[in-house]
Symmetry: C2
Subunit: 128 residues, 2 copies
């Protein structure tokens, strides 16, 4: 399994797939976008911070755990840090797998676990 | 809700998003890829045929039904027809929604229902 975990200060550009397997049947790409409304607040954007070494370790741990059940082929995660304006992506996840069920389930569970366990914080900035 | 359903004889190029909503929080893109193995057969690719008018009607019906529960903002489907070689995409689905749960669930259920109800057939071609 190829695993890529990247952090970037600029707009997310999905990295090219690292390889093409003849048994890949499903590629799921997820873009998490900053919305204009969070609870009752109108936002201009969100400011993201991470403790990168620990975030990488947590991603590795979560991916290893989830891979037992859903057996993805390759996983790529890009998280943006710093200020991210409304309608821009703060997160990109790509999961490749033999079957769509595994790819979709892995992607959803990975993001759920990320929000719980990975030390990435967001700071709300009010709209100007 | 913007709905696009496209059929193409050539390689799938994901169409640009039709609009950017400030309340979009999740964009899911799914690529269904032709695998080299189907059951015990080694394939060179698959040949897809559709009864397009009815396929469009069925997609509209399925999308309307699923949208009641998962409320996507926009949905785009591209299905390739004719011969699709191994490792090429035969299906592209993009779902935009406020939240990731809705986008992922809508995408998965749409494809499940498509395989059941939409008149698109595949013909297996053995590897050369």
């Amino acid at each position: 399994m190829d695993i890529e975990v990247l952090f970037t200060d600029g707009p997310i550009t999905p990295p090219p797939r690292t390889r093409t397997l003849r048994e890949t049947g499903a590629v799921v790409e997820f873009h998490g976008i900053v919305r204009a409304t969070e609870g009752d607040a109108q936002l201009g954007g969100l400011f993201y911070e991470a403790y990168e070494p620990m975030a990488r370790r947590e991603f590795d741990r979560i991916i290893s755990q989830l891979a037992v059940r859903h057996t993805p082929q390759d996983v790529c995660i890009v998280h943006r840090l710093g200020f991210v304006a409304v309608s821009e992506a703060s997160l990109y996840v790509r999961v490749e797998a033999k079957h769509r069920g595994a790819a979709l389930a892995f992607c959803g569970e990975l993001i759920d676990r990320m929000k719980q366990d990975v030390p990435i914080w967001k700071v709300v900035r009010a709209a100007p």
